[in-house]
């Protein structure tokens, strides 16, 4: 019942007095509200679709999950990674993983997804 355990602890935080999990992990969308003038297409799409979960700061479930998974072996922030490949990114976006649901083409078009891939692989070694 390990999962359920994790489940419960997280929830308990809500019912615990003082700053609960809800608060502790709460995040602000402000970073993602930048209209992105002059920014590369991929960056703008990344901010729009990914940063609420994978962005910097507290309360980003994606970042938290990757931190827990890799324990710092690779950066928890996707846009700091240099090892991501386009196929991998597309696989996650289109199939989802654990709580991350899949994204439809009416949400992230293939073109937008290509741009996000370009942005996230921009620093990869050739």
């Amino acid at each position: 019942m390990k999962m359920a355990g994790a489940f419960l602890i997280a929830l308990l935080a809500i019912v615990a007095p003082g700053a609960g999990a809800q608060e502790r992990i709460a995040s602000s969308w402000t970073t993602a509200t930048v209209s992105g003038q002059g920014q590369p297409h991929g960056y703008v799409e990344y901010q729009k679709f990914c940063s609420a979960c994978h962005g910097e700061g507290v309360g980003r479930p994606g970042t938290l999950a990757l931190q827990a998974k890799y324990k710092g072996a690779v950066p928890a922030l996707l846009d700091k990674r240099t090892d991501l490949t386009a196929p991998l990114i597309k696989m996650y976006v289109r199939n989802g993983i654990t709580v991350m649901p899949s994204f439809r083409k009416t949400e992230i078009s293939d073109a937008d997804l290509d741009a996000i891939c370009a942005y996230l692989t921009r620093n990869n070694k050739p």
């Binding site: 999962m3 992990i25 709460a26 309360g59 649901p101 083409k105």
Partner: protein, 526 residues
């Protein structure tokens, strides 16, 4: 290629060809890899034959295109399943009730038509998300707040139609709906309320219009496709503050909730609150459930535990929005009222003036300040997802006691540890009633999911026996829940069916939604 039930492959390909003509080839999805994107990521039938799958998806971009799609669907009797942003996760996501339905995906209809700062409303299309609307308001520096649910990637149109809730004083989302545009199954476009008046000046300012007030018929419903919706916004308040109220003993809950109901029904305390129990949370952290299981500790023992650990038995964080002097007075009066309960204690909370630039590490619940985010998913990380069981109960302490006992007994009877499902004490998402949220984890494990479904259905029945009904449910549970709303031999459901047959004779719109099936599929009803 999958085909919808009762539709021949040739008819289906003919329909798809016409869909492509209507909306453009690239907006009709038939390849499995595309269609799979419409599976419910949190399906309790994941990888089981009963999983509700989609045969295709069509994504129109305008009312005219929707009309065309409906015309085609009518001529080939194609069942459509309408989604706005398709983020109704825990209640079915983007997947249909009827396997093989074609998803009518409105995500591309994402225009924010108007945000009015003087009468405080927005007029939006279904594909607009809370994030989009928030961003629009920020970019235009408008002094109005939205009321996002957690999470914020859903659609104001979709969430309001499903009667979801947020945390600010505009928490009751359906109550904030003012004027909708609907495409009926026959392709006819109606506008409700004042929208029926050509060049109306108050479509988003006055709800009822003239004659029957029909907006509600299109919520949790399959009577039409909502293509525009007016939503009331809150003027940016001058200030915010919150504070905690706590009482020491188990039995204090009765006066505690009575006081709370007085304050909320008087609009002295507004917004959504969550009942807390520090002592029960402490027990839960030691591996005990929150529910009151038979043979569990007596009230006396629990009171003693609370005393020994110096933990309050009950508490709540209360929030106040408005002019500084008013919310200060409201918080003061709130403390006076609760002080009538011996041993009541209070904790000052946060306080802001608006507009505010929050620090990233600020611990306030963002949605309570009208800021959409996704932090709620942090609560369920490590699982495949979850499915919610959410009954409405009276806003009284007695009802809460009964709930803890009744569900505790139900779990014991099933030999399931309540902590298998996450359970929190009641929320006040709506005025004058509490709602409970049981989160059932969905796991990549067929056996576990099967058990989860059994528990879920048992809870629905037990709740119904005690007069508690769900406010909303997962698509795979809609028949189960619809069937307990059975007063006078399902008189209400039969009225829904009568209307369904009259306004959608071919039964093309979201068959099975909320237990409402078109005539030709009605035998399917459990």
């Amino acid at each position: 290629m999958r085909t919808p039930p009762g539709v021949s492959a040739s008819d289906f390909s003919a329909a798809l060809a016409q869909f492509e003509k209507a909306v453009g080839k690239q907006w009709v999805f038939t390849r499995d890899e595309d269609v799979d994107l419409y599976r419910d990521s949190y399906s309790p039938y994941w990888h089981e034959p009963e999983e509700r799958v989609v045969s295709a998806a069509v994504a129109p971009e305008s009312v005219e295109q929707i009309q065309a799609v409906l015309r085609i669907a009518n001529s080939y009797k194609i069942p459509l399943w309408t989604i706005s942003t398709g983020r109704n996760l825990a209640y079915g996501g983007s997947a249909p009730v009827l396997s093989g339905s074609v998803v009518l995906d409105l995500k591309r209809m994402n225009k924010i038509i108007e945000v009015n700062e003087k009468n405080h409303y927005a007029l939006v299309e279904p594909g607009v998300s809370y994030f989009d609307l928030y961003r629009y308001i920020q970019d235009h520096k408008l002094r109005v707040w939205i009321d996002p649910p957690d999470p914020g990637w859903g659609s104001p149109v979709g969430n309001s139609l499903e009667r979801g809730g947020g945390r600010t004083p505009m928490r009751d989302h359906f109550a904030a709906v003012c004027g909708i545009e609907v495409v009926l199954a026959n392709g006819e476009v109606i506008r409700t309320g004042m929208g029926a008046l050509p060049n109306s000046k108050t479509w988003q300012q006055y709800k009822y219009g003239f004659g029957p007030y029909v907006d509600g018929m299109f919520s949790q419903s399959n009577f039409g496709v909502v293509t525009k919706m007016g939503i009331w916004l809150m003027p940016e308040p001058e200030a915010y503050r919150d504070g905690r109220v706590m009482v020491p003993k188990h039995d204090d809950l009765v006066p505690f909730v009575e006081t709370l109901a007085y304050l909320m029904n008087s609009e002295i305390v507004r917004g959504t609150m969550l009942l807390e129990s520090p002592v029960l949370s402490y027990r839960a952290s030691k591996g005990e459930g929150i529910l009151d299981k038979p043979g569990g500790p007596s009230v006396g023992e629990l009171d003693k535990l609370a005393q020994d650990k110096n933990l309050p038995y009950w508490g709540a964080e209360l929030r106040f929005w408005g002019p500084q002097n008013v919310i200060d007075a409201q918080w003061e009066y709130t403390q006076e009222k609760f002080s009538a309960i011996p041993g009541a204690t209070f904790k000052e909370g946060r306080s802001y003036k608006f507009p505010v630039q929050l620090q990233e590490n600020d611990t306030v619940t963002r949605v309570a300040l009208g800021i959409p985010n996704l932090s709620v998913f942090g609560l369920i990380s490590g699982t495949q997802g979850h499915m919610d069981f959410s009954p409405i109960i009276p806003m009284t302490g007695e009802a809460v006691f009964e709930v803890l006992k009744v569900f505790g007994a139900a779990y014991a009877e099933m030999g399931v540890e309540p902590k298998n499902q996450f359970f929190v004490l009641p929320w006040a998402f709506f005025p004058r009633a509490f709602v409970l949220l049981f989160g059932f984890p969905i796991e990549p494990d067929v056996e576990k999911n099967k058990r989860t479904r059994e528990v879920f259905q048992k809870l629905v029945r037990v709740a119904a026996e005690h007069g508690w009904g769900e406010y909303r449910t997962h698509t795979t549970m809609m028949d189960t829940v619809a069937n307990v709303y059975s007063y006078n031999n399902h008189a209400l459901l039969r009225v829904h069916e009568t209307i369904k047959d009259a306004v959608d004779p071919q039964g093309i719109l979201s068959p099975g939604k909320s237990g409402i099936w078109p005539k030709h599929l009605r035998t399917k009803k459990a």
